[in-house]
Symmetry: C2
Subunit: 386 residues, 2 copies
């Protein structure tokens, strides 16, 4: 069933870049938009008040994690995920497929569904298209995602094709199972880095008529140029009239490159995760706040940044908090990084609206140096579990 409360309107095209507005039961979202990730019902270290202050309009949570803890029943009984976490804006949930594969807890995968072992207590669980949809409906979120099968794009075309075909069958079952008129349901296009498979998948999935379409199976090991090429190719394969969501992306440069190719929605743990490890965004690239040169940096990280962190604290203080492993450190860094990404999205939207996105994106990409591989891996893991 399609959601009566959901809608998308494309306001302006600038090249392939799209500026639109997505209506949900919990309010409107201007697109392109980035969704901060609240995996377990909390954007790590931030209060809902701070999420609003950094400019988040929609967040993503995770049906898999919430199913395991605290349990769907509990959240349903308390009146849904919005009530549970006291977030008043829209929420999209991931179906759980990605976690089952990425957490390596997969036990069995067949046409019925996926059986996995809980990463918390080792118990066995089965996710099917039907119960995944039911869980997301009971969570009361604004946008549910179909259960899909994910394969790293370097696994060979046969595996990618099989996963795509299973994703198609599951998408049909998700569509049939979905009964909430309060909730939108997005389909997921698979097909790895093959244009042929992407074409087949887009055709199959869009024929089912979902409220929006996600590009799945990217940012999972393929090269950047392959990723951009597929996103670019998808533009013509997806309807203009519905939102397009690129799952698991991303970095500032990837967001700009993807908007340029027609994407409307993003989610990624990157800005919040690297923040907790001391990597902060600036207009020229990510910096390591723990580097010795920042010990005596007696200024805000970015003089013109309007985030709470830059408005109130010097880099020297944030450096000290990280060195001392203070709990305020990941929080101040998270606030800055999310405000940076939200500022980027705002700039992107206004430049598309004014028809100046191309020069804006060239300007941004010209200044912003993407993170090199060494730093990338370092900041992905350094200080965990903070």
């Amino acid at each position: 069933m399609s959601s009566s409360k959901f809608g998308f309107k494309l306001i302006k095209l600038d090249g392939k870049a799209r500026q639109g507005i997505m209506q949900t039961r919990h309010g409107a979202v201007l697109t392109p938009a980035f969704m901060p990730v609240a995996t377990q019902g909390s954007v790590k270290s931030l209060s809902p008040t701070e999420l609003t202050e950094v400019g988040a309009h929609i967040i993503l949570s995770n049906a898999y994690h919430l199913y395991l803890r605290p349990g769907i029943d509990l959240i349903e009984d308390i009146g849904g995920l919005h009530n549970f976490m006291n977030w008043k804006g829209p929420i999209l949930t991931d179906s759980g497929g990605y976690q089952v594969f990425s957490l390596g807890s997969l036990i069995d995968l067949n046409d019925e569904g996926v059986t996995f072992r809980s990463h918390i207590d080792g118990t066995r669980h089965l996710f099917t298209p039907e119960n995944s949809i039911s869980y997301q409906e009971r969570l009361g979120v604004d946008i549910a995602m179909c259960l899909d099968q994910l394969v790293a794009s370097n696994k060979g075309k046969e595996l990618v094709k099989n996963a795509m075909q299973r994703t198609h069958k599951w998408a049909e079952r998700c569509k049939t199972a979905h009964s909430s008129s309060q909730q939108a349901l997005f389909g997921i296009v698979q097909g790895g880095v093959s244009k042929t498979l992407r074409e087949q998948s887009a055709q199959f999935i869009t024929n089912l008529e979902f409220d929006g379409y996600a590009i799945g199976g990217l940012a999972v090991g393929e090269t950047k140029s392959d990723m951009y090429k597929i996103i670019d190719y998808m533009d013509n394969l997806l309807p203009r009239t519905t939102p397009r969501y690129l799952m698991g992306v991303g970095s500032p440069e990837d967001i700009v490159h993807s908007v340029m190719r027609g994407v409307d929605l993003f989610d990624c743990v990157l800005p919040t995760r690297v923040a907790r490890n001391g990597a902060l965004f600036t207009q020229t690239g990510r910096v390591d706040i723990m580097a010795p040169k920042y010990k005596r940096w007696f200024k805000p990280l970015e003089e013109d940044c309007v985030c709470y962190t830059c408005q109130n604290f010097t880099v020297a203080y944030i450096h000290h908090l990280f060195k001392s492993r203070e709990l305020l450190a990941p929080r101040l860094a998270t606030i800055h990084n999310l405000k940076f990404i939200m500022g980027l999205m705002k700039n992107i939207r206004s430049h598309i609206a004014e028809g100046t996105f191309q020069s804006y994106s060239q300007d941004f990409l010209g200044k912003y140096t993407p993170t090199n591989e060494t730093s990338r891996l370092f900041h992905k893991n350094r200080l965990s579990p903070i």
Copy 2:
């Protein structure tokens, strides 16, 4: 030199309980007051904004920790500790004596001072009365503490007496070394649980004429009844016209018992530390928020609590955050516990002002069940390093 910016006025006596106002360069503090502890220049997990919101009027930081990291030079160069941490209210610093003993990093102790090994990198450092005062002056805090020698009160009278005598010599040197007219200096009375020694120490220290007096060497292993007895005895030994600060206390019941015996100022890591381990204060005692019964507690912890946590979240959500080791968990718990303590201090002050402190304290102590020893140790350590 006495501070020209510092003053204390006793407004009302109710039995031995005192309600007063302490003037500092960074504003006035109504007493009795509790100082949240910002050991390394941050009250763990809270922003300065939140500290203000919970009602903190003065905080405590630590010269020993700041000396080792980020260093006194750095904080002086950035314009003092207030600037460094962006806290606009008064700050008192501990001299560092307590940490040298409690962190077990003591190498040598003689009349000159105390040599210790850094708990961070193992380097050797000497704290003398003179440099401890100099460090605190350069931090730019409102109230400095004399360097003292601390001995657990069960170590035998001879050791306690020797430590007291050294504390006296050091107090003279601190007083001589102190040159800031911007900063108050408090003397510390030692003497363990011996009335004779406490009498000698109070006489010696008060003769030096400090801006305020601390009761040191309590809450370090003696029985509660010995602690209350000594606090009670101190009331007559200390001037009425200066603030009295009981170092390292404490729990809600200890605060009430000590105010009853004439104490004006308190500091303790307890409310913030146990919060990070899931122990939250209520009017009837501390509760373990991770206990199974709280999993489905769909209400705030205290219905009439005005803290951000109780105003916005159910116990079930806080329980979930702790179970999931989310960074928001220690923060929400810290906000609640500090608001609880600040509410207690506010009630104490208004009841002294109205002359009803005795019945208020009986009522509070009648309802509030102190934490038993098992829970106490459990919540002191459970989830560290969160």
